[in-house]
């Protein structure tokens, strides 16, 4: 009954991809997952040998922007692979079956692949009033989540809803919308953002799939790979901040020259995300590049950190080496002072930081065990 499932390499061969295409795909996947050249062998090996891992994608209190972002993932071979080489056994957004036939897909996967399937969760879970605020097939979201998480090999929380409750958890949180890591006891990879960048989503899956382990996470359960840097520190408009050149009003002459949006409320300085490096929609842009400040959508409680157009408090000495673990989110309180002070501090710190970074980057790159495949 158990038949051998084709590996990604085998599947690509039947699709007419050459070995060279395959190797290029592996390099791309490795680059996206942040693997250096010496780790390539394990990437190639993993794609050659592994059958498509079963995936269950649950939807609770959400708006489906995470699913939409996921299908915006830009590398062509990646989207082929996501379609062909993951087995999306349950996903209410795309699956053909509905009703009890759909539920059967879920139960079959949980039963036949216990301990092997990846659970992806989009949406928060309402914990108030016995779960009447979100039911599927007559069952509460909490009930479904707990059952599906029980035998999952890995659990990924897509977006801010599943990671931190997002908008429905904003004050006064009428339904007691709760992020999934507070409900299940397993470790959860949080991939926040409203939504997360599509390429980041596929990269996180690729990371798990290739290495068979979860990526390094920060204190909020976010992959450091994509949430280790503040938007501010990698922003192409950062030099204007350092030089004290700010947009003062929408569409003023400074806005037309692309100065820093800090005074317009930009949350880049307190937001850990990949937007200014990976960018959105195949690198087309990101919010700051298109003239609007970052609203901080990958941070816990960002909806209650507004208003969005009031600029942040000063954060003197808040250098780029700091991580979310040591600083946390700065709550927005209006203050004009401190901008210049910070800019000056930043200048002085920069030299030291650059030197430190160079040294540390060398020590960080000592080879680690990159196991995972059989």
């Amino acid at each position: 009954m158990v038949k051998k499932l084709p590996s990604i390499w085998e599947a690509m061969q039947t699709k007419g991809y050459s070995r060279r295409d395959f190797m290029r795909f592996c390099s791309m996947a490795a680059a996206v997952a942040g693997v250096k050249v010496s780790g390539m062998a394990s990437v190639v090996h993993a794609f050659e040998k592994k059958p498509r891992p079963p995936v269950v994608w649950l939807h609770f209190q959400e708006c489906t922007c995470c699913s939409e972002s996921f299908i915006r993932s830009s590398h062509p071979i990646v989207s082929d692979v996501v379609f062909d080489y993951l087995s999306l056994d349950y996903t209410e957004t795309l699956q053909a079956a509905a009703g009890h036939q759909a539920e059967k897909c879920l139960h079959d996967t949980m039963k036949n692949n216990a301990g092997k399937y990846i659970l992806l969760v989009e949406g928060s879970v309402p914990m108030k009033d016995d779960g009447v605020y979100c039911t599927i097939g007559g069952r509460s979201a909490e009930d479904i989540l707990k059952e599906a998480a029980k035998d999952a090999a890995a659990v990924i929380a897509w977006g801010s809803c599943a990671s931190n409750g997002c908008i429905q958890a904003a004050n006064p949180n009428p339904t007691n919308a709760t992020p999934i890591h507070k409900i299940i006891s397993k470790p959860v990879i949080n991939v926040p953002g409203c939504p997360p960048i599509g390429d980041v989503m596929t990269a996180v899956i690729t990371h798990v799939l290739v290495f068979g382990k979860i990526p390094d996470l920060d204190g909020q359960g976010r992959p450091k790979e994509f949430y280790g840097r503040r938007v501010h520190d990698t922003c192409y408009r950062r030099p204007y901040y350092d030089a004290g050149m700010f947009v003062e009003a929408w569409d003023d002459d400074k806005a037309r020259k692309g100065y820093c949006l800090y005074k317009m409320g930009c949350r880049g300085p307190v937001t850990y995300n990949a937007c200014s490096v990976t960018r959105w929609n195949e690198g087309t842009s990101y919010p700051i590049q298109s003239g609007h400040g970052c609203i901080g959508c990958s941070e816990n409680g960002f909806w209650d950190n507004g208003p969005f157009y009031r600029h942040l408090a000063s954060f003197p000495g808040f250098g780029i080496e700091t991580t979310a673990d040591t600083v946390g989110t700065v709550v927005g309180v209006a203050a004009a002072a401190g901008v210049t002070a910070h800019a000056v501090t930043t200048h002085i710190r920069k030299k030291k930081i650059v030197n430190d970074r160079i040294e540390r980057s060398v020590t960080d790159r000592e080879p680690k065990k990159e196991g995972g495949e059989e």
């Binding site: 038949k3 599947a11 039947t14 708006c63 489906t64 922007c65 915006r72 830009s74 379609f83 062909d84 999306l88 056994d89 209410e92 957004t93 795309l94 699956q95 053909a96 079956a97 509905a98 009703g99 036939q101 759909a102 897909c105 016995d130 009447v132 605020y133 979100c134 039911t135 599927i136 007559g138 069952r139 009930d143 908008i167 429905q168 904003a170 004050n171 006064p172 949180n173 009428p174 939504p195 929408w250 569409d251 806005a255 037309r256 020259k257 692309g258 937007c275 959105w280 929609n281 087309t284 842009s285 919010p287 590049q289 298109s290 003239g291 609007h292 208003p307 969005f308 157009y309 209006a334």
Partner: protein
């Protein structure tokens, strides 16, 4: 007689449950229930009105941008702000890009599997598929080898034993009528559309920084135009937009429409099923002379009653007698009782879940059974969406609308009344996409002409600062989401949101019965729909999907009493 339950309804946005009573192979009664709620209006109270677009945009990530547009219009209406010409054009371009992406994804990825049998594509002759493809379109990817590769890919997929999203589908069901060759064509375009849809939304990324959920701004748009600057909308960005528009026009004209017509030709019997209500409502959209000039809209505003296309009724979102919401069968409580209807500005509600606690097998259909309220226009249930837009356009005398409709019904050799059906609704979505793609190019040309004339303004700063606002203000923002008429209402008091409400397309279409027992659009359309096999009710999916359900934004609550409301003081 059997009561069947389909929950979850898949290939939609949100959580929808349908319970239907089947008698003699046909649905005799139906119950539509939204089973998830988040409570947006309660969360919006006390916040800065200029932030509301970001909150409400999160009502839906499938039809992203539309709530943001409704919201900025609502606030601009309340504060009497008019936006610069460039901002109007950029908003229109984003609107059109959304329609193209959303409608194509709906057709191929959410709706097609109701009509297309993927497994049947395995027995197709790729040469014949190629011949058919070439006979209906000049799209270049039509060689026999191409379709043979696609077929091989499906074969490998099926033989892997891991059917993924195709598992437990209704393959082989007697309701599937397409020849294997057309099934193969549709499967190929399912994959191509998945690749293409991520391209067109780059227009959102260029003007709004990202998609899904690009950025908007009360008073204009956040991006600036500067032809002498790399850090703004410049020639390169505009060229990028033009390329995306041209590609969109090609995809819609050469893939979407030929496929739609080819598939529709085999399902003409569905032109007699699922007609539902006889009333249609469109707020209209795509202004060309400003939002306050609805006469200039590409999609006209109006209401049609009893399918009388000789009369278009005026629609006014501010008239307290026109739009009212009822809760007789919704899990809310009104002080005036369950039979009262309230205009959104006077909305008054609190949660009142009286249904069965989960887990449950059936809803209490005699009582309240949904988180969706029931809106009525002058007491009438109304259908909203692409069909309503086209009918209001047709009845208003729009030549462009008439032309695409006549062309389609002539090609299919059906009467114009075929539009009042499940098939008609699905066709209308495609036909309006043709119009929208053309209009998008027109708005692009207008934007270039305006810039060429020396106007680069994208923002009106007159009432940005809250100290320029009156002590109280109220506004309405009307738009047409891909799924239909969408409106937001706001009351601003002391510079913060005092009350904010949304009445969205799926509130009109997916709502439960009203206090008089009258059905809304989904339920009315389901009555009479045939069900050949109660264990595999694919026909229910066809009719429900023809509306393109989008449920997350349909459920919300109003709470003017302000209990436990978080207050934020704005400096």
């Amino acid at each position: 007689m059997a009561r069947i339950v389909v929950d979850p309804i898949t290939r939609i946005e949100g959580h929808l449950r349908i319970e239907a009573v089947v008698e003699n192979g046909k649905i005799s009664e139906a119950y539509s229930s939204g089973t998830m709620i988040r409570g947006f209006e309660k969360i919006l109270k006390g916040r800065d009105p200029r932030d509301a677009w970001a909150f409400t945009e999160r009502a839906c990530g499938v039809c992203t941008t539309v709530h943001a547009l409704a919201s900025v219009r609502t606030v601009e209406d309340a504060l009497k702000i008019s936006v610069p010409k460039n901002a109007e054009l950029i908003r229109n371009l984003m609107f059109c890009a959304q329609y193209c992406q959303d409608h194509v994804v709906h057709f191929y990825h959410l709706h097609a599997l109701d009509w297309v049998d993927v497994v049947s594509a395995l027995s197709a002759d790729p040469k014949e598929t190629s011949r058919i493809a070439r006979s209906i379109s000049k799209w270049p990817k039509t060689s026999p080898g191409y379709f043979s590769d696609i077929q091989q890919r499906v074969k490998t997929f099926v033989e892997s034993g891991q059917l993924g999203i195709f598992a437990n589908g209704y393959w082989g069901h007697s309701a599937y009528k397409l020849p294997a060759e057309i099934n193969l064509l549709a499967v190929a375009h399912y994959l191509e559309a998945l690749e293409w849809q991520k391209e067109i939304v780059k227009i959102h990324a260029i003007f709004g920084g990202k998609n899904p959920h690009p950025n908007y701004l009360v008073g204009g748009v956040p991006c600036s135009i500067n032809l002498e600057e790399v850090n703004a909308i410049n020639s390169e960005r505009l060229n990028h937009v033009l390329k995306l528009i041209k590609d969109a026009m090609a995809f819609v004209e050469q893939v979407y429409i030929p496929d739609l017509m080819a598939i529709a030709g085999y399902y003409k019997d569905w032109a007699a099923v699922g007609g539902g209500l006889e009333n249609y409502l469109s707020y209209g959209d795509l202004p060309t002379q400003g939002y306050n000039q609805p006469d200039s809209f590409k999609f006209p505003r109006g209401a049609i009653l009893n399918r009388n296309l000789n009369e278009v009724h005026d629609v006014n979102g501010k008239d307290s007698e026109e739009i009212k919401e009822y809760i007789a069968h919704s899990w809310y409580k009104y002080a005036g009782g369950d039979k009262t209807g309230l205009h959104p500005w006077d909305g008054e509600t609190e949660f009142n879940h009286t249904g069965p606690k989960p887990p449950y097998d059936f809803l209490d259909i005699d009582g309240k059974y949904s988180w969706i309220k029931t809106p009525r226009w002058r007491g009438n249930p109304m259908e909203v969406g692409p069909l309503a837009r086209l009918l209001v356009g047709y009845a208003s005398g729009s030549d462009e609308v008439k032309d695409v409709i006549h062309e389609a019904i002539h090609a299919l050799q059906v009467p114009v009344t075929a539009l009042f059906s499940t098939l008609g609704r699905t066709a209308a979505r495609g036909l309006e996409t043709r119009l929208v793609a053309r209009w998008m190019k027109g708005f692009y040309d207008d934007l270039l002409a305006n810039i060429k004339n020396g106007d680069t303004r994208t923002f009106n700063d007159e009432r940005w600062e809250p100290d320029t606002w009156p002590k109280t203000a109220e506004g309405v923002g009307l738009t047409e989401a891909p799924r239909g008429a969408l409106a937001h209402w706001i009351r601003i008091k002391d510079k913060v949101i005092d009350n904010y409400q949304l009445v969205v397309p799926s509130t009109w279409n997916a709502s439960p019965k009203d206090h008089n027992g009258k059905r809304s659009a989904y339920e009315e359309s389901l009555v009479g729909t045939p069900v050949a096999n109660e264990d595999a009710p694919i026909e229910i999916l066809r009719t429900v999907h023809s509306f393109d359900p989008c449920i997350a934004c349909a459920v919300h609550l109003y709470d003017p009493d302000g209990k436990n409301i978080h207050q934020i003081t704005v400096r």
